[in-house]
């Protein structure tokens, strides 16, 4: 028997034998980008041949080809498990690209179309008696209105929100605190138009006041409060208990402990939260539409008469439907987006700069 084996051995050696290794066959590292290019080319080719005008369809075809192609090749070369992994990877990448495209396009369109009429004149003049289809006019009245309404809303919402958060974190025990926590959550989900309808029903329909910036501020404050409570609560919870205990152990009353120890420690995060809340309500259109109505001239009194605001201006200029008003709408949108983004960036900067030192 042993003879047979020794005789056969050279034969077996001469045959190409798969090398014994723990590594599976892998596709080279450059394969995904190459597949993507091929799929894109094929998608464009099919789109051209079939005469599809929408670039969206070209992209969809290319994406499909890429997914199927990668899966098929990987299943052939690497096995089913790796193929599934590659399928997931390509799906995740496509999800990302799919989402980035519209969002990038949104920013791009706003910047390109908005910068057409945006200049010093646009920022410092109101619409006045300018006919809607004419070129010219500006957003000074809208900026004034937005600043006043958002300022008033912040004056109402920030103290209430802050104190509520202090109550929940520092004092809150028992049923009242639970109820407040629950309803803050509920309030977060109140649609902006419902807040507007509420103020409309009380302030205008029942109490009989007319439209004014202040009416809008009340609705904005309702939208702002839960956001302030949530973020402040999170920040206060981050303050280490040792600080509170140290202060209380020195005989400092609780209210002074909160004012002098807890709040200064978390002031950065709280400022960030309030600024993010301001950024959020600055862009709200629906309540302003119901309660402030919009105007063409500057109204410096937020308590009397209709005012304008930036988001509402965008909406109303869009409604006019002429080329000139579209340009103005885009320019105002650009100002609004820039304002909100700067507020966001500054807020996040403060958060990073003033982050509470947790001792680790």
């Amino acid at each position: 028997m042993s003879n047979v084996i020794t005789e056969k051995r050279p034969v077996a050696d001469s045959a190409p034998r798969p090398p014994v290794t723990l590594r599976q066959a892998r596709l080279p590292r450059w394969s995904p980008p190459v597949f993507a290019l091929v799929a894109l080319a094929a998608g464009a080719g099919i789109g051209l041949v079939a005469g599809l005008d929408s670039k969206i369809q070209w992209g969809l075809i290319a994406a499909l080809l890429f997914i199927i192609g990668t899966y098929a090749v990987a299943a052939k070369v690497e096995g089913a498990r790796q193929a599934k992994d590659r399928l997931a990877t390509s799906l995740v990448w496509i999800a990302f690209l799919l989402a980035v495209l519209p969002l990038a396009s949104l920013i791009w369109e706003t910047v390109v179309r908005g910068s057409k009429v945006l200049d010093g004149y646009f920022l410092t003049h109101s619409m006045g008696t300018l006919p809607d289809a004419m070129v010219g006019g500006g957003i000074n009245h809208a900026i004034t209105g937005t600043l006043q309404q958002v300022g008033l809303a912040t004056l109402i919402a920030a103290p209430i929100g802050l104190l509520t958060a202090i109550y929940l974190v520092e004092y809150g025990r028992g049923r009242l605190a639970k109820a407040v926590t629950f309803f803050v959550d509920v309030m977060t989900g109140v649609p902006s138009i419902v807040a507007g309808l509420f103020v409309l029903s009380v302030w205008i329909l029942i109490l009989g006041f007319g439209p004014s910036g202040f009416a809008g501020s009340m609705a904005l404050a309702i939208l702002m409060m839960p956001v302030v409570v949530r973020s402040t609560e999170e920040m206060l919870k981050l303050v280490p208990n040792e600080l509170r205990e140290a202060s209380l152990a020195l005989g400092v009353p609780k209210w002074r402990t909160i004012l002098k120890v807890v709040l200064p420690t978390s002031i950065g995060g709280i400022t960030t939260g309030v600024m993010l809340a301001i950024a959020r309500i600055t862009g709200e259109t629906a309540p302003v539409l119901l309660l402030v109505w919009g105007a063409k001239t500057i109204n410096n009194n937020p308590f009397e008469g209709a005012q304008q605001s930036l988001p509402l201006y965008v909406y109303q200029q869009w409604q006019q439907g002429s080329e000139a008003s579209y340009d103005r709408a885009w320019a105002a949108a650009l100002v609004l987006i820039a304002f909100v983004m700067i507020l966001n960036l500054v807020a996040r900067g403060i958060a990073r700069w003033k982050a509470p030192k947790t001792g680790r």
Partner: protein, 331 residues
């Protein structure tokens, strides 16, 4: 020198009044501060109660004057001699557009969140998360403007294509024209809620214990298997709460829908043809021509929207509370 460092015996402490340490005695400053902060909490509750009460009051006025069934009428005419209005079309449009938005947005958002947390090159990941957070702050009116002036013209090609191949279903039949339909609204809402759903899901995915992932990797799992076995189970409740947050936004979104949709009070089978409406959109577009009774009618429809969003949020909270016990979050 050494002796000076040793503290001398402290003077005998003054006898402390028992009332001062018991904690029951409250200094005036404390009383004022507690009163203020508790008062703010109560003010918040009062506002919520007032919202419900006043909306209900005005709605009752409106529904009493409604000569048609408020829930089944396909019409909105509160100003005529015989006021007739109903929310059937609005409820249908709101639900359908939100469902479309969720179906598109949730898988994509989870994909982006996974991309940022697990797939993207490390240098790209944190700026990407930052950008997504910024995008969540873009005002809805700007999405509306972009949707109406950019998205709508670009969708008609896709819709004709869908009509060619899926038109036989009826749902995807499309007669040429501006693509200002419920489906477009759904797509736009999906784009709008993407950042917020992504942002919340990403937070959750980043909290997955490293040990779980490393254990899976050590067993030879591929990256997808790691995600399926350790990341997704851990993040499930987070994904659900993120989706519900997005759903809440989609249901109540006003301006983006008002700019994109070309409304009508008919329910058609086709989602691609213009028509339909949503609660919030209807309020925004009918408000300027409404008299007091018309405004009451709009308030009534707003109350329905309010109740729906309350139910959605409540359901989300229940799901999260129940899932919490099973997920690894408390481990």
């Amino acid at each position: 020198m050494d002796t000076s460092a040793i503290p001398q015996n402290p003077p005998p402490a003054a006898p402390v009044e028992p009332s001062e340490v018991s904690g029951k005695s409250v200094r005036p400053g404390d009383r004022v501060f507690l009163g203020l902060s508790r008062g703010s909490g109560i003010a918040l509750l009062v506002i919520m109660a007032a919202i419900a009460a006043f909306l209900t009051y005005r709605s009752v006025l409106a529904i009493q004057g409604d000569k048609a069934n408020f829930f089944t009428t396909f019409e909105w005419d509160p100003t005529g001699a015989e006021p007739k209005f109903g929310i059937a079309v609005l409820a249908f449009g709101t639900v359908v557009s939100s469902i479309i938005a969720m179906v598109i947005a949730v898988p994509v958002a989870v994909g982006i969140a996974l991309f940022i947390s697990h797939y993207a090159p490390r240098k790209l990941a944190s700026p990407l998360g930052y950008v997504i957070d910024l995008l969540a702050a873009v005002p809805s009116i700007i999405y509306g403007l972009w949707g109406a002036l950019f998205l709508v013209p670009h969708l008609s090609g896709l819709y004709s294509w869908l009509d060619d191949y899926l038109g036989w279903t009826g749902i995807f039949s499309y007669s040429q024209g501006a693509a200002r339909s419920l489906f477009t609204v759904g797509i736009l809402l999906a784009i709008m809620i993407l950042p917020i759903v992504t942002s919340v899901s990403r937070e959750v995915f980043l909290q997955v214990p490293k040990m779980h992932e490393e254990a899976a990797l050590a067993l030879g799992a591929t990256r997808w298997e790691v995600i399926r076995m350790s990341v997704l189970p851990f993040g499930r409740s987070g994904i659900i709460s993120a989706s519900m947050l997005g759903l809440g936004r989609a249901l109540g979104e006003t301006m983006a829908v008002a700019t994109v949709l070309s409304p009508s009070f008919l329910i058609g089978l086709s989602l691609l043809d213009p028509g339909g409406g949503t609660f919030a959109q209807n309020i925004a577009s009918k408000f300027s021509e409404a008299d007091t009774f018309g405004q009451d009618a709009l308030i009534a429809s707003g109350l329905v929207l309010f109740v729906i969003t309350l139910l959605v949020n409540g359901a989300a909270r229940l799901i999260i509370a129940r899932r919490k016990e099973y997920s690894g979050a408390n481990a």
